[in-house]
């Protein structure tokens, strides 16, 4: 009779060697991610969120607000991504669902649906530019900017943390493809 090994939690890129040099590429530790859907015109929904996030709900796609350890990023006219610490997800979900009450909204834990890659180094923008049609110049996409875009053939949530660092949030099943693509694109800068 077959016995199966006990499943072990691992991140999608756990077995790959880090890219370290003038450019570095590393997988970030798993963070908490919650997908929020709701009507920005529904005051009950807006109040439920603003109770947790000080400040106005971002309604411009790409806009992001930070609140303590968490951030809220507007992905679409009725969709937001809440990012927080992994062990805060359960409480956050419970609080939000409680606060939503009867309003037509949803909060879903998508933490392990995505992984995040951090690309750092002087040539970060040059490497990104090889993979995306987005204008990632310092003028077109200044530090702090975020956008959902295409990188090679994957959909990526791109966050320009600093001028020399970008964080790419990608579906875990696309992560290895994107990783390989980035390593290849970074090769000419790592000598």
């Amino acid at each position: 009779m077959n016995t199966f090994p006990t499943p072990v939690a691992r991140t999608p890129l756990a077995d790959l060697p880090l890219l370290l040099g003038a450019l570095s590429l590393e997988e970030r530790p798993l963070s908490g991610k919650v997908s929020l859907r709701g009507n920005a015109g529904d005051s009950a929904f807006v109040e439920a969120l603003s109770a947790r996030f000080s400040g106005a709900l971002p309604t411009q796609v790409g806009q992001r607000v930070e609140s303590g350890q968490a951030s809220l990023w507007c992905l679409g006219p009725d969709e937001w991504r809440l990012q927080c610490e992994l062990d805060a997800v359960e409480d956050t979900l419970a609080q939000l669902r409680d606060a939503f009450g009867q309003c037509h909204a949803s909060a879903v834990d998508v933490s392990d649906y995505y992984t995040e890659l951090a690309l750092s180094g002087q040539a970060t923008r040059d490497v990104l530019a090889k993979l995306t049609p987005l204008d990632v110049s310092a003028e077109g996409f200044p530090a702090g900017s975020q956008a959902a875009t295409r990188m090679a053939k994957c959909s990526v949530l791109l966050h320009m943390v600093r001028d020399d660092q970008a964080v790419l949030c990608v579906r875990w099943s696309h992560a290895e493809y994107l990783w390989d693509y980035l390593c290849e694109a970074a090769r000419e800068y790592n000598h």
């Binding site: 679409g76 006219p77 959902a148 295409r150």
Partner: protein, 96 residues
């Protein structure tokens, strides 16, 4: 590179988008009484115009939303972008 204006994200490269054919095709309300010809017309037959065409697009790699566009199929020039539920701009024929 040709650019498409998503009503929510603004100008982005065409490779972030996908076209889904003719827009404003309403689902028939009398489906129980429809014969095969009427169903065939609803499901399969499209205008295939040369000139201004109203079509549905999605911003797949961006916000993921559906929207409508008016495009001249002969020149590939985009004349308007508008949100679902909105009527197409009235003066499109003259623009082409």
């Amino acid at each position: 590179m040709f650019l498409i204006s998503c009503p929510w994200c603004g100008e982005r490269d065409q490779t972030e988008f996908h076209c889904h054919g003719e827009a404003h095709i309403a689902r028939p309300e009398n489906s129980l009484e429809m014969d095969d010809a009427a169903w065939g017309d609803y499901v399969f037959f499209r205008k295939n115009v040369k000139g201004v065409h109203l079509e549905r697009w999605t911003h797949d790699h961006g916000c993921g939303r559906w929207f409508n566009a008016a495009r001249n199929t002969a020149t590939d020039e985009f004349l308007a972008f508008y949100k679902p539920g909105e009527a197409p701009p009235a003066d499109l024929e003259r623009v082409s």
